[in-house]
């Protein structure tokens, strides 16, 4: 049942500390980079952080608008590069991924989950109903005596029948395989893009696990 009297407020609409205008202007002139995770384990985000000091060489050219440090669901303004972690497993993932596509010039699938479904896609060989039954009804870890129920509410995103790779939902421009890829691989792609080179992930840093 829909309750239209509730006004939704997204985190990026909440009051925030104002930037120093001079600093803001500098940041806004840089290449805007965002990263978001869908159905993944956040491991690829950790690899993003693993770029470590290599990232320093890009900081005068790049600014990170949305990342694992901020819990913004939407990107506040247009971005040049969007890194996507995770497969697409529910209707909210689809909506947010479409929002990223509309607001990023370049979208990149990072990690096995985004590239082909990865770990969450292991459920793709099992009918959805069976997955739900195993998770909520016949779960060996269910609280004894608790009412067995499959959660359903309009505020809970609806699970898709299968976990999809990002490129089956929107066009993705580049792919960085790995579970997770090394920070080095993510950096190589970012560095190529920022410096206007053709993206090339050499076979010695490409990996699928």
């Amino acid at each position: 049942m829909s309750d239209n009297s509730v006004t939704e407020i997204f985190s990026h609409e909440l009051p925030a500390t104002q930037w120093d205008p001079a600093k803001k202007a500098i940041e806004e002139a840089k290449i805007q980079v965002a990263m978001i995770g869908f159905c993944g384990c956040w491991g690829c985000h950790l690899s993003f952080l693993d770029m470590d000091e290599a990232m320093l060489s890009l900081l005068d050219k790049v600014t990170i608008t949305r990342s694992s440090f901020t819990d913004l669901k939407r990107i506040p303004h247009h971005c040049t590069i969007g890194f996507i972690e995770g497969g697409i497993a529910n209707d909210e993932n689809i909506e947010v991924l479409e929002h990223y596509r509309e607001n990023c010039d370049i979208l990149i699938s990072v990690g096995a989950c985004a590239v082909w479904g990865g770990v969450p896609a292991m459920r793709n060989v099992v009918p959805l109903e069976e997955c739900f039954r195993e998770a909520y009804i016949d779960s060996p870890t269910a609280v004894p005596g608790a009412k067995k129920t499959i959660p359903y509410h309009e505020d809970i995103p609806k699970i898709t029948t299968k976990v999809m790779p990002c490129h089956e939902v929107v066009k993705m421009d580049y792919f960085i395989p790995g579970c997770p890829p090394d920070g080095e691989a993510i950096f190589k792609v970012l560095d190529d893009l920022v410096n206007g080179r053709e993206v090339d992930l050499p076979s010695d840093i490409n990996r699928y696990d």
Partner: protein, 249 residues
Amino acid sequence: MTVKITIDGQSINAQAGDAIVDVAAENGVYIPTLCYVKGKPCLGTCRTCSVKVNGRVMSACTIPVTEGMEIDVNGAEITDMRKALVELLFAEGNHNCPSCEKSGRCELQATGYEVDMMVSRFPYRFTPRVVDHASATVWLERDRCIFCQRCVEFIRDKETNQKIFSIKGRGTHARIEINPTLANKMSAEQVREASDLCPVGCIIDKTQGFNDPIGKRKFEIKSIRARVLDTAAKNMTANQANSLNREHP
């Protein structure tokens, strides 16, 4: 008999009858393979070694060189065709490398890196494939089988020469089967041989798991390309030494 051929425009003298794939490797040109095992009869099942011979696509492991052949290995079109074949295999089976015991020593994975595969251009199929653990020593992870038939042809019962592995069904119904009675007669060495021969992580030796740490696994130590080219270079030197010995006893 020596024949003259060209590979990607480079003139090469080769022994008539040698497979294109070997002649190429001996001359420093890597052609990916997945079913070919040097020294064993050709299976010709995977087509990963496809090259153009005088303009026609052929599998380099099954075709012997003949006089005047013009072979295109690294042209853009044929390179992409081989890549597509590898991508097909990843889309057809379920290849979750992070949870695969063979990862790091898998020929399919290593070949994926060599053909620069980042993602499959084909929709991933996620076909349910049942695991078979009926045999005492072998774990058959059907998700990963690429139907190369190496195990079918080359792993046989020592006593009767009967096949231990077989492929049942055709097309999308094809599946690898194991005869548990014969499999249980396999020695530990033969089980290891079968699991090593399987290019992917389908035939898993139950006593082996994630034995080598990440970073120290077979193809991390040395890529499949470097292994193929180095072995060929060594063979080449040995052959040259042999022929010299023959000519000057």
